[in-house]
């Protein structure tokens, strides 16, 4: 059973590597949006430090929305999704595999480049560390929650916009605690509480989202 999970992860990463243009769109979107703010606002250090957590997190949220549309769409079009519904494996496990691979190629790179971008906002090394940790905890939750929306809107015309409308409200808690953790660190309050909440959100979405997404996939595939 675990073998099936692994092969899905490996399959999707291989596919992403063979189609690298898709991979970089998300990352470059994130880099450009985050870099636009210091250019637009000007070199006012105090303002920049103040807005940094929010800007980086909102950009991460939007970047992960951008990638969501492709999560199941390609498999739906070429019929591999149909085959996945007909294999003797729990569908939620396969969905979890797809989301894991999706996070590894779209979410993880965001967390890796974030400290570099944070330098533009004059964040302290410590705050940069918290930013990375909050993204590492938060972006998988975003991918998991997004999977439900992507599964629900599969095969609909204009699904991309609809996914964002469905999923963005559900992602607000992740945004609040993610940006909150960095803010708390900057203002010296300690980020522990926020990070714990982010972890709790991640566990919760890890439990429920594969189930919900696989139920949605079955409906969409009809």
């Amino acid at each position: 059973m675990f073998e099936a999970f692994l092969i899905i992860v490996r399959r999707d990463i291989t596919l992403a590597m063979r189609r690298r243009s898709d991979l970089f769109t998300t990352l470059f979107f994130f880099v450009i949006v985050v870099s636009l703010f210091p250019l637009g606002i000007g070199p006012e250090m105090n303002t920049l430090r103040l807005i940094a957590p929010g800007v980086v997190w909102v950009a991460a949220l939007l970047a992960s929305m951008l990638a969501l549309e492709r999560l199941f769409a390609a498999d739906f079009e070429d019929g591999t999704l149909e085959q996945m519904l007909l294999v003797p494996q729990p569908l939620s496990l396969l969905v979890l595999g797809k989301v894991t691979a999706h996070w590894l190629v779209t979410g993880l790179p965001l967390a890796i480049v974030a400290p570099l971008l944070g330098l533009q906002y004059d964040l302290s090394p410590e705050a940069l560390g918290v930013l990375v940790v909050s993204l590492l905890l938060g972006t998988p939750a975003l991918s998991l929650i997004g999977a439900i929306g992507a599964a629900l809107t599969l095969g609909l015309r204009g699904g991309g916009v609809l996914v964002s409308l469905l999923v963005l409200p559900l992602c607000i808690p992740v945004l609040i605690f993610g940006a909150g953790a960095v803010e708390a660190n900057v203002s010296g309050l300690g980020e522990q509480g926020h990070l714990s909440m982010l972890g709790a959100l991640l566990v919760l979405s890890l439990l429920f989202s594969p189930l919900a997404a696989s139920a949605a996939l079955r409906i969409s595939a009809e």
């Binding site: 899905i8 291989t14 596919l15 070429d78 019929g79 519904l85 007909l86 003797p88 396969l94 009809e222």
Partner: protein, 211 residues
């Protein structure tokens, strides 16, 4: 044994068939006939469990397939209109992934062998994207050579295949039926069987079918 009990399917506002009932036993082949849009594909998808029928149920050895869930999938191999293979992966990769998902261990050599039997010698490790329609279909059908599942549901398996491949696939189907397998298929070609029984089902305008 596969049993269809009082099945009804509605797509949109149109009732495709209702009160449909038949059964299929080991060593039997069911050939579905019907004009375009008569609900052949819908019936096949309903039997697979991809579509929830409006009424009635599909039973495998006396149990509703909805209750069997993934257990039923072990008994089933489905080839639909779409090939279900990834364009960016090679034939061997596609075949091995689908075998792992189906829970059968297949060595690299065995996968190469199956593709060679399907007449894809020399194309096994090319990305499927560069293959022709017929070759893609062959990659997709190669699964059947490695599958141990008793029930095959084949939706227009012969499309895009050349004469030689059609002939080969017919022998594969025939030997599956002879090994006490079950096959449900739609096609516009005649399938000749040496042993076993061929049932014909006509889906018609009235919406009622009988065997």
């Amino acid at each position: 044994m596969l049993e269809i009990v009082d099945l009804e399917c509605v797509r949109g506002d149109r009732r495709l068939f209702s009160g449909l009932a038949f059964s299929l036993e080991s060593g039997e082949l069911l050939h579905l006939h019907g004009h375009n849009g008569s609900g052949k594909t819908t019936l096949m998808r309903a039997i697979c469990g991809l579509i929830r029928p409006t009424a009635g149920e599909v039973q495998w050895n006396g149990t509703d397939i909805r209750r069997l869930g993934e257990e039923f999938n072990r008994e089933l191999a489905y080839v639909g209109h779409r090939n279900g293979i990834k364009d960016d992966l090679t034939g061997v990769e596609n075949l091995r992934i689908s075998c792992v998902l189906d829970g059968i261990a297949v060595s690299e050599a065995k996968a190469w062998d199956a593709l060679e039997q399907m007449g894809l010698k020399g194309c096994e490790d090319l990305p499927v994207r560069v293959l022709s329609q017929g070759q893609k279909r062959r990659v997709s059908l190669a699964r059947l050579l490695l599958h141990a599942s008793p029930l095959w549901i084949l939706d227009e398996p012969f499309t895009a295949l050349d004469k030689a491949a059609v002939g080969f696939l017919q022998t594969v189907i025939r030997s599956h039926v002879e090994r006490a397998g079950m096959v449900i298929l739609t096609t516009h070609q005649e399938v000749s069987l040496t042993r076993g029984q061929v049932k014909q089902l006509q889906l018609g305008w009235k919406g009622d079918g009988d065997v």
